[in-house]
Amino acid sequence: MIPHLRLLAAPRPCLLLAVCILAGSWTFAKAHATNGTKIGLLDIVTDELNREFSALKAKGDPPPYYMAYEVTEEQSTTESATLGALISDSQSRTRGFDTTIRIGSPAFDNYHPYKDSRIQFTHFAQISLDDNPNEIRRSLWVETDRVYRGASRRLLQIKTDQQLLADDKEKNADFSVDPAVKYVRDPEQFHVNREDWAKRVRQWSGEFKSHEKILSSGVEFEARRNLVTFVNTEGSAIQTGSNLFRIVMQAEALASDGMSVADFDSIEAADPAHLPSDKVVMDRVKVLAKKVDDLVVAPPAEPIVCPAILSGRASAVFFHEIFGHRVEGHRQKDISEGQTFTKMLGTKVLPDFISVTFDATRENYKGNDLIGHYDYDDEGVKARPVKVVEDGVLKTFLLSRSPVGEFKESNGHGRRQPGFEVVSRQSNLLVESTKSVSSKELRARLIEEIKKQNKPYGLYFEEVSSGYTTTGRRGLQAFTVVPLVVYRVFADGRPDELIRGVDIVGTPLASFQKILATSDKAEVFNGYCGAESGSVPVSAVSPAILVSEIETQKKQNAQEKQPLLPRPEFK
């Protein structure tokens, strides 16, 4: 598995241009009354959970010891445009559920890791948007039967298989004891005026019309409201949810040698009132368009090892990839994993001036909403701040209800995209530094370092699009982040020079040791992180960092030929 972080919209033209157009209306949102009495979703799901659990406990061989249903309803509105014309105007509402059945005992159950065998029992099964007890109970029943069959099959199989192993090293229990929770919070409902947003994205995307070199561009607005209902057989009953409003803009062009150059910008908020004014968005579109124009004519990068500054957003991705993924708890149990940090608890893994906290309870950072925020994770465990690294020393891991060594309880990081099995995932990553200097000072330190190392230049990474890291043993345990906007910084006072086609390469442990200092101003990166349990929203907050050495490679060049005909001209 290759975990990766990506933007809300990757800067590929097809993604924004080929958005699914199927739209929905949720005018039928009001619950459909049956026989005059309205039965809520929570009651319907709880009743069926109890009925299934007692029947399976009585008749199942082997019987389950734990069950849970998680219903996720997603309501979304999308307006996207290119060159001033609307491409998609859609609304959709879907509701489905995931089923968890644990068979055996918490010490050894059907989720027990075994070699590379993939664990996947649930699938996101669609249910009625109306709170219709007949339909919902039937769907739960059909799906529970399917999941139970798969779960019991795997348990019986791995019970035998693990006896055939030379030495079953995995001694951790499979499921932790965590308290039952009752919690209900209805996320605020905002009115989204589709016509207004359509008008805005048309206007913003129209700005790209005056940039002849830009071949593909777009601006998209999305409003998304998630409602989650979680019940388990330990008595937990949770109804919660979240809102996300986002504006994503992207543009792509071809340099003269056929290399694709692109940049993006995005704005996220949990409340539309937190979004910037139309004018601010337009200004950001203009800056983006100008940047892509500049990238087209920028010189290509050469491979180099040199000192560099990563902007706050760039280092946020850097930390997410090279650090965050390696402290996810389940990776410490999986024998196929690299287990970089498994035996390093209590030892120094980062420079001693750096601490890292994962805090899902944090809703925003200095006015920026953090999309990695949640109240309860997907196993019904309450979110809490978790200081993973204190003064450079590794203290704990990100934990779901899958115990790791001395950590027998979850710390609220069991997450998934609907349709996937839960594993431990990141939330809001916050990098704190005690060795911070002003941005100006950080730049002076970079120049000092360039001179000291006698390098022709250093690098400044302003914007990165995404990254991926391999944590498995099979591949090289390296990371790559894909920078979009990079400058050469010269020691002799020449102005910075924008370059294109840079990739950062490196191995994790070595990179941590090369952080010399940080700036005193943190920046926020919001994105979607993809891994075993699907795509989940995450945030990373970090100050800019100065590293003594970074290795870059040339980006792959598709050598795509420019369009043969000039752009059509219009009167």
Binding site: N35, L83, G84, N132, N134, K561, L565
Partner: protein, 587 residues
């Protein structure tokens, strides 16, 4: 409700083959057409160094609005409205004799989505970039094709594109005008009917209506805008029989527009009937192998013909492929070499006539005037008095077929268009009264020394068989060495010599193809109209594939002398441990 309008506007009469001018108001007022006309003029001039030039360019936009509602047991699962525009850009390089299509390197180029605003500049920009990419890819395809052809001992000399007359036909654009809430209510009520059917484990009712305007402009002077509409209501239900086998029932009601669909009450009745029929199927005994006379009654006869004729009445050609690459297996028509020969009893004829809008007052969903390639639909006599006369054709020439007869209706393989029936009429000159067909079946069974004959009232067509069923069926066919068969019967009855009927389940056809139609012994005097959604997939599996069109088969009940069916070989699983939750009564 808007009706399909037959009159041509602005540019003169129907199928006007006169030259038109881009300045014509009808084109100037249609932003999508104008953008295509203007950009196509530039695309014709594309040339990269000394590489092949375009000799044929065609642009199309499917501008569609779609409403989809899915309901189960009285609850709405999905209710969506969407508007999208999908372009199709074709840039053929080389010449009509030898171009970049018809090789294993060829593909159909469809490009993402176009703006849904009538924005001339944005539309043209998309066509500009799309054409550039398609042209570059076409030059690559023709080079690969040439290289493959150089290595082949014998290359098919058939041209790659048949000539067609330029066609001009601008009909009013199609617009969706239905009440989504009203259909939600109909579906809630209809799907709730299954709450009274305790053995049904899963069920749903789906409504779909697509209102599409199809616009095409090409470098031969063709320009048209026609409606391409489709609406259907489908009902699906499944249950586990006591032996653990899954049984299902599927009904589809198809019309061009939502106005031609049955009323809400009729949909509810159909749901009730679907549930009741499935309950009977659950209780029905499993049939043993059967070999003997079969009466395909009404709907089943039309389904049987739709399934067997689809690939018998078109020819497909083998794409150019590197020698021994074995990458292009095409199942050839069983009638490919039969032109001039007898393929049916001499009292049967088959005609495809897309231009018929209705049959004895029933709407024909296979009606259209212009195909996807801009060729006017023609009436084609396929079989005349039992003798094979011709095939349905698109603009892809195949050996004996040099010109299209306006049947290119679905995207085919290798950059070509697939010929698909419109309205297929099976006409009998010798007829037996419908009410005597069953007696004839009994006579035949008796003569064959059987205790009963087999009467089939409905086939699984379009097929709603699940993945497991299809796999199991595939294994059984492979074991029997069978390459072609027919969709399984959904409702088959033993008709005993005393006339009483017994529903049986679990039968599959053995070998069955259009060749077996020679064994048709009798046709009734009552034609049945089957309107169906055709997607060109195997067994016309419901909702397979990216594209679909509508076809009709008009056929009487048919009695066949001898048909072989086998008991389905399934490995049924155990029934669920937990009994189904009790259902609450719903109004």
């Amino acid at each position: 409700m808007k009706k399909r309008v037959v009159t041509a506007l602005a540019l003169g009469g129907m199928f006007n083959t006169l030259a038109w001018s881009a300045d014509a108001p009808a084109i100037q007022n249609d932003v999508q057409l104008r953008a295509m006309v203007d950009e196509l003029a530039r695309t014709k001039t594309l040339q990269l160094n000394n590489l092949d030039k375009p000799y044929f360019v065609q642009y199309a936009i499917s501008d569609s609005e779609e409403i989809l509602i899915l309901a189960s047991l009285g609850g709405i699962l999905t209710s969506s409205y969407g508007h999208s525009r999908s372009p199709h850009i074709e840039v053929r390089v080389g010449s009509a004799q030898f171009d970049n299509t018809n090789s294993v390197f060829s593909g159909n180029a469809r490009f993402g989505s176009l703006p849904i605003d009538d924005d001339y500049a944005a539309l043209r920009t998309e066509f500009w970039l799309g054409s550039d990419a398609v042209y570059k890819s076409s030059t690559d395809q023709i080079t690969r094709k040439r290289n493959a052809a150089r290595e082949m001992a014998e290359v098919d000399q058939t041209p790659d594109l048949s000539p067609a007359k330029p066609l001009v036909d601008l009909e009013p654009p199609s617009h969706l005008a239905i009440d989504q809430h009203q259909w939600e209510e109909i579906l809630r009520r209809a799907s709730a009917k299954f709450t009274a059917a305790p053995s049904v484990s899963q069920s749903h009712v789906r409504f779909r209506t697509i209102s599409s305007s199809y616009r095409v402009v090409n470098s031969e002077g063709t320009i048209f805008r026609i409606p391409q509409d489709l609406s259907d209501v489908t009902i699906y239900a499944e249950a586990l029989a006591p032996d653990g086998n899954k049984v299902w029932n599927y009904r589809a009601m198809v019309g061009l527009t939502a106005a031609s669909l049955p009323s809400g009450e009729a949909v509810e009745k159909m749901a009730e009937r679907t549930a009741a029929d499935l309950e009977s199927l659950v209780k029905a005994p499993v049939s043993e192998d059967y070999s003997g006379p079969v009466l395909f009654e009404q709907e089943a006869a039309a389904q049987m013909l739709a399934a067997t004729l689809e690939d018998a009445i078109r020819l497909q050609r083998k794409p150019v492929a590197p020698p021994n690459s074995n990458s292009s297996q095409i199942l050839e028509s069983v009638w490919a070499t039969k032109v001039g020969s007898k393929v049916l009893p001499e009292w049967l004829s088959i005609i495809d006539d897309p231009l018929k809008q209705d049959f004895q007052g029933t709407e024909l969903a296979g009606f259209y005037k212009v195909d996807d390639e801009g060729v006017a639909a023609e009436r084609v006599v396929l079989v005349d008095k039992g003798v094979m006369k011709g095939f349905l054709a698109s603009r892809e020439p195949v050996k004996t077929i040099a010109a299209s007869n306006g049947h290119g209706r679905l995207p085919g393989l290798w950059g070509t268009e697939l010929a698909v029936p419109g309205n297929l009429f099976i006409e009998a000159s010798e007829k037996t009264p419908e009410d005597q067909m069953k007696a004839k079946l009994i006579e035949k069974a008796k003569a064959a020394g059987l205790k009963f004959g087999l009467l089939i009232r409905r086939l699984d067509f379009p097929s709603a068989a699940g993945g497991e069923e299809l796999q199991s069926m595939g294994r059984q066919l492979q074991k029997g060495g069978v390459s072609r068969t027919l969709n399984s019967p959904l409702f088959a009855y033993r008709v005993y010599l005393d006339g009483h009927e017994e529903l049986v389940r679990g039968l599959r056809f053995k070998d069955f193809s259009a060749k077996d139609l020679r064994d048709i012994d009798m046709a009734s005097d009552k034609p049945y109209v089957l309107n169906y959604v055709n997607n060109g997939s195997g067994f016309n599996h419901a909702d397979s594939g990216q594209s679909a069109t509508t076809s009709s088969v008009i056929a009487p009940s048919l009695l066949l002398d001898s048909v072989d069916l086998a008991r389905a070989e399934n490995e049924p699983g155990k029934l669920p441990l937990v009994p189904a939750p009790a259902l609450m009564a719903q109004q």
